[in-house]
């Protein structure tokens, strides 16, 4: 087991920089998820930790040892690929044991490790099959098994569930969580799916366009995002953003007036310096932070476009008088039957024009 430290890690392809000086400190035994939209550099970062991509700048240390120039096989890592990368011409057993056999590991030890991995992943009855005779979920287990037999200090997962159907994804998510508990090994997991990130991670690293936007525990990111990107990326449906401006201040904080809603003012307490009166800001409201009329800080009348019923809860897709789209979460029993509804904002976040959180 080992901690992983990234210090100012950069990646350039020619003149094009795709990762800009990432600083991430992953503790021993921690489950860290790199999450971000396509092209944010999360897979590149993972491949640099694995040694499959050169590091253009900065330093990567695994277990306290700088590994910039260490061969991938000597870094004490094992990786699970998005496409599984199983050896198609080998049986499951051969896939699991291939690496150990090729490096002259004693047969008894190889057998022990393969047997243990097969038991952990419950694939013992599949050992003689070729990958093409396995289902997607089974292939993924074999790919994970191949990582387990290496007994690595750090597991790397590169979008391992993205080729599976929704149901299997949920199932494998639970399995990976269980595996982490069982092995207690450091795991780094890359995904573009914020639900996977929220459910699996001890800590999440949110990336965008090669920059680390925020690092934190899932609920910390959810409750306390640093900027508008993290606020919008974490949580589903995403946070609503409504244009507003600073109307003044009182003893409790600044007064925020929503665009086109002169009577709707929110009082936001701020610890830091307050923006000038009249400056443009953005108010972020999560779908579940809308209450009934009079329940929150300020009331807002919206026109309902579509209602999605999910059973216990429903989502109202609506528009403000100013023409901004908002999603409102409601208990199924409280869905209004009218085309207009007045809601209140019970909790909101304030962002400046550049998208940085004001608090």
């Amino acid at each position: 087991m080992a901690n992983v430290t990234l210090t100012n890690v950069a990646k350039r392809f020619g003149a094009f920089e795709v990762v800009h000086g990432a600083n991430i400190d992953i503790r021993d035994g921690e489950f860290v998820v790199f999450v971000g939209p396509s092209g944010c550099g999360k897979s590149t970062l993972l491949r640099m930790i694995a040694g499959l991509e050169d590091i253009s700048g900065g330093e990567i240390a695994i277990g306290g040892k700088v590994v910039n120039d260490v061969e991938p096989a000597d870094r004490g890592i094992a990786m699970v690929f998005q496409s599984y990368a199983l050896y198609p011409h080998m049986s499951v057993e051969q896939n699991l044991s291939f690496g150990l056999r090729m490096t002259g590991n004693p047969k008894a030890d190889t057998d022990r490790r393969v047997k243990r991995a097969a038991e952990i992943l419950r694939i013992s009855e599949l050992m003689e099959r070729r990958p093409k005779k396995l289902s997607g979920g089974q292939r993924q287990r074999v790919a994970i098994g191949r990582a387990i037999v290496r007994e690595p200090q750090v597991f790397l997962f590169d979008e391992p569930l993205s080729n599976l159907d929704a149901e299997l994804r949920v199932q494998m998510r639970v399995e990976i969580s269980r595996l982490h508990k069982e092995l207690g090994t450091t795991m780094i997991y890359v995904t573009h799916d914020q639900t996977e990130a929220m459910t699996l991670a001890d800590r999440i690293v949110v990336l965008r366009a090669g920059h680390v936007e925020q690092i934190g525990r899932p609920l910390d990111l959810y409750d306390n995002p640093d900027n508008i990107f993290v606020a919008g990326f974490v949580g589903s449906p995403r946070m609503n953003f409504i244009k507003a401006h600073i109307a003044g201040r009182d003893a409790k904080g600044v007064l925020v007036e929503l665009a086109g809603e002169e009577k709707t003012r929110i009082v936001q307490p701020l610890a830091g310096p307050a923006p000038e009166t009249g400056s443009t800001v953005i108010v972020g409201v999560r779908p579940e932070h809308f209450g009934g009329a009079g329940e929150g800080d300020a009331d807002l009348t919206v026109a309902i476009d579509v209602v999605e019923h999910l059973g216990g809860t429903s989502f109202l897709y609506a528009r403000t008088a100013h023409g901004e789209d908002v999603v409102i979460q409601r208990d199924a029993a409280r869905v209004p039957q009218t085309s207009e509804v007045t809601v209140s904002i019970r909790k909101s976040y304030l962002f400046d024009e550049k998208g940085l959180r004001l608090r």
Binding site: L52, A73, M79, S83, A85, M102, T103
Partner: protein, 286 residues
């Protein structure tokens, strides 16, 4: 549905007619001719005449021996060389990849007569560049055209030169279809590049290698141009005469069509038999 099929067949009729007249009929006809004594006029039906002669004909066995010798030496050597070329072409270190790919493939496009003439010049006893090179490194000259062993070697070199690049391009296409992450997984498994080649590339390329081998076997069984043009009609003294040449000599020089047909059917039969054995030996385990 029937109507639509009928229309389709009407459109296909011109092609099917040509196919029947120029393909199917000659195949049937030559089979029947192989059972006729064609050295007398009129031809007469004599099933044992040609096939009986074949079994006891030293010229046939000489041609068969030569053809098989070329087959067992040249085909494996060429495929090994093609594999090496494909690996080089596939290397990320290679610059000007397109140029090499073209250069390797170019011999196939060169006219057979032109390339045979160049080979004759290159290997000529006194003026050839090959003997000059041998001399320059202190080796004796070789009379490529007057001795059987060098003449056979020359045929094999020529055929290999012409077809190795072609096979390399096919193998390269196969190599490029192997996903990169399989190699990355092997690299993380601490498997060396050499072992990756033998334990991953080769097994995954097996269907492509078999395809190349089958094509080459069929081609070599019909080998004609090189021994006809380079070693002058299978010379010296029939030392490089192949089944293809024997067929030509019997059919078009002696006008013994019956015997030529029997040789042709033997060539086709052997090619099919060898290919089937090859496919059986390299079949995928269940």
């Amino acid at each position: 549905m029937r109507n639509r099929n009928a229309t389709a067949y009407r459109f296909l009729t011109p092609y099917l007619l040509i196919f029947a007249i120029f393909w199917v009929w000659p195949i049937i006809s030559s089979f029947m001719i192989s059972f006729q004594a064609t050295r007398t006029v009129p031809w007469r039906f004599a099933p044992g005449f040609n096939w009986g002669r074949l079994i006891g004909d030293p010229a046939f066995f000489n041609a068969l021996k030569n053809t098989l010798l070329i087959l067992v030496i040249q085909v494996p050597a060429m495929i090994a060389l093609a594999m090496l070329m494909a690996v080089l072409l596939n290397s990320p270190l290679l610059k000007a990849r397109g140029l090499y790919r073209f250069a390797f493939f170019a011999p196939v496009v060169v006219g057979e007569v032109a390339y045979s003439a160049v080979f004759r010049l290159m290997f000529s006893l006194d003026f050839g560049i090959v003997n000059k090179l041998l001399n320059s490194i202190g080796l004796p000259k070789i009379d490529w055209f007057s001795n059987v062993t060098p003449a056979m070697a020359l045929i094999m070199i020529a055929v290999t030169w012409r077809w190795a690049g072609y096979n390399a391009i096919i193998l390269l296409a196969g190599m490029q279809s192997i996903p990169e992450d399989v190699y990355e997984a092997a690299t993380l498994d601490r498997v060396s590049k050499l072992k990756q080649f033998f334990y991953i590339t080769l097994p995954l390329l097996k269907p492509v290698i078999v395809f190349c081998a089958v094509l080459s076997i069929i081609g070599t069984m019909q080998l004609f141009t090189e021994p006809f043009l380079i070693t002058e009609r299978g010379g010296p003294g029939g030392g490089t005469e192949t089944l293809g040449l024997l067929l030509y000599r019997q059919g078009f020089r002696s006008l013994n069509f019956g015997y030529a047909s029997a040789v042709a059917y033997t060539m086709a039969g052997l090619a099919i038999a060898i290919t089937l054995v090859q496919l059986w030996l390299t079949r995928e385990p269940k």
